[in-house]
């Protein structure tokens, strides 16, 4: 648990907007190299692919390294920066938020005067990096610089709030499981794929799946919850275990695969819940339509306030996700599935 918290803290200081995931990739690479694993490759779109096991069937695990963020698009005469969102950025909660650009420069999001609620649109917001002129700002943050939101990690009992659980927590689950299994004899060839550009259209996973042609795809990602005050109507609760994806807008899990996941969780007494997400998709959606079709699913980590700067997860759910993933790739049931 302590180790997980440490990783969460470390990975939530990294800057990894879609397309510019370099910091995250380097940190994961370090972690993997330390384990002594050598079979590391990178895809043209920047995904990191780690291969373990020698089984005949191939399983692709996908957790995305990228996070939502901003892109500097214009600097006005006073040195204020206009920006575009990268991925599904919600405007609520942006005012006063800190931004960190990939070159380390920090800034604050401000807003033009908003007279009525309709005025509140992204176009009215700007980033103030403390510059006094266009020139000064351009030197610090040239047009075209990507950035992310910046917020420290807070541990609240077994729950942890951070800016980019989506999807650093998926990456951490994969890293911790990788650490547990890489020395074992696995019944499959397992590709741990740390993908890119998920937030802008599931792109990294799509090309990686095309390249690897796996027999199964499993994405590790966060999902929303329906357990907050008068919130979104959804059955998933924080702390109620790993969420097994039934349906989202990109995927309906094959019933046989879903049943296997449920059985595996029940047999091993892993806390789980079934998940239907009405809006939103994950890397699994892109993987399952690759080439001739690849049965795929998602193990989701329930997360409150997704795409805000304070996403909240429960460490028990993380543990359950890791347990279920470990069981899936170390036992032979998955490979025995017939479609």
């Amino acid at each position: 648990m302590k180790r997980t918290i440490e990783l969460i803290k470390k990975f939530n200081t990294l800057v990894g907007p879609s397309g510019y995931e370099d910091e995250v990739r380097e940190e994961i690479k370090k972690f993997v190299l330390k384990l002594g694993i050598k079979s590391i490759t990178e895809s043209p779109l920047g995904s990191l692919i780690i291969k373990v096991g020698t089984g005949k069937k191939k399983v692709m695990l996908a957790g995305h390294m990228d996070e939502i963020g901003v892109l500097c698009t214009y600097i006005d005469k006073d040195g204020f920066i206009r920006f575009s969102p990268v991925g599904g950025v919600s405007k609520y909660g942006l005012i006063g938020t800190r931004v960190k650009f990939i070159n380390g420069v920090k800034g604050i999001i401000g807003a033009e005067s908003l007279k009525k609620p309709d005025d509140f649109v992204l176009e009215k917001l700007y980033i103030d990096i403390g510059a006094r002129s266009t020139k000064e700002a351009e030197k610090l943050v040239p047009i075209g610089t990507f950035g992310v939101f910046d917020r420290e990690v807070d541990v609240l009992g077994t729950r942890v709030a951070a800016k980019a659980h989506d999807d650093r927590i998926g990456c951490i689950v994969m890293m911790e499981v990788l650490e547990k299994v890489y020395k074992k004899k696995l019944p499959y060839t397992v590709y741990f794929v740390f993908t890119t550009q998920e937030e802008v259209g599931l792109r990294g996973a799509k090309v990686a799946a095309y390249d690897l042609e796996p027999d199964f795809g499993i994405a590790l990602d966060v999902t929303a919850t329906g357990d907050t005050l008068d919130g979104y109507k959804m059955a998933v609760k924080l702390g109620a275990g790993v969420a097994i994806k039934v349906k989202d807008s990109s995927l309906i899990t094959h019933p046989k695969l879903k049943d296997l996941l449920v059985k595996t969780a029940e047999k091993n007494k892993i806390k789980f819940q079934l998940e239907i997400l009405d809006r939103g998709g994950t890397d699994a959606g892109a993987i399952h339509l690759t080439k001739s079709g690849i049965p795929s699913t998602v193990l989701s980590i329930p997360t409150r306030y997704v795409h805000s700067q304070s996403e909240m997860i429960d460490l028990d759910d993380v543990k359950a996700t890791e347990d279920l993933l470990e069981k899936l790739i170390t036992t032979s049931d998955l490979g025995n599935l017939k479609f």
Binding site: M234, A235, K247, I252, H254, L274, I276, D278, L289, S292
Partner: protein
Amino acid sequence: MKKILQDLSQTFGPSGKEEEVLNKVRGYFKRAGLEVKTDKLGDIWGIRRGKSNKILMIEAHMDEIALMVSGFEGRGFLRFTNIGGFDHKIFPGLEVMVHGKKKLHGIITSIPPHLQTGDSKVAWKKDELLVDTGLADEIIRAQVCIGDYISLPKNFIELKNSRVAGTSFDNRIGVTLLCDIAQRLKKQPEFTVVFASTFGEEVGLRGGIVSSYNISPDLGICFDGSFGDFPGQKDTSTKLGGGPIISIGPAYHPILVEVLKATAKKSKIKIQEEIEPRPGGTHAGMIQLSKTGVGVAGISVPLRSMHTCV
């Protein structure tokens, strides 16, 4: 043909769980003497080998729109989500079937006029509607879990003028045509014909993408349902009884369209035309883009009240 349509349209096969329909189709394909194959995600295809290796893919999606249990609200009430596109105005007062461990009857909630407090001119919102099974909470939780499908009533009614009404004619009518044509195609054709019945169209054209990658056809013809005439319905010129609808637009190969039209003229078959200025909303649009490209044509049967249960 009516029998096949009745049989197929009364079988439940929502997107993601097309198995029952798939098994029925398998039966029809086998009886027609086709070589049958399936893929991992739930497509089925029947092959009639021809004299050449060129492949004509004739496709119809077999999934239908449906509902799915998404949560428990206590006292036997279930929250639901939709699989595919619905006008939720058709829901209040609808009898449905929850496909849990056992099949359970349910009714979608409404409020009688006597108890209404809000504005009755406003349709109920999707979130306000629930499925009522009338069962105790323990019973329902033991029988049903999140992700179970809910089907709409499966009636099949013969109306006047050889017209029929039923559920999921979009696109069991297409699948019916596949099965019927497969039976008629007794002679060895010039080229190989692959009859493909596909999954997941209603939730994102999924089967079209995967099956055309697998089959690598040279040409494709897609059967689907399209709009019939109905009062107040703008933008449709196609009519029930007006004959098959041939689609025109960037997704459809102009030469193939001409061939279809010429064939219809020669055989004195009445046809209608429909334009599709925004391609990509149907399986035809996806099959066209498979690998290095496929010339496709779309033929639709006019249906009234599509995406409802009549």
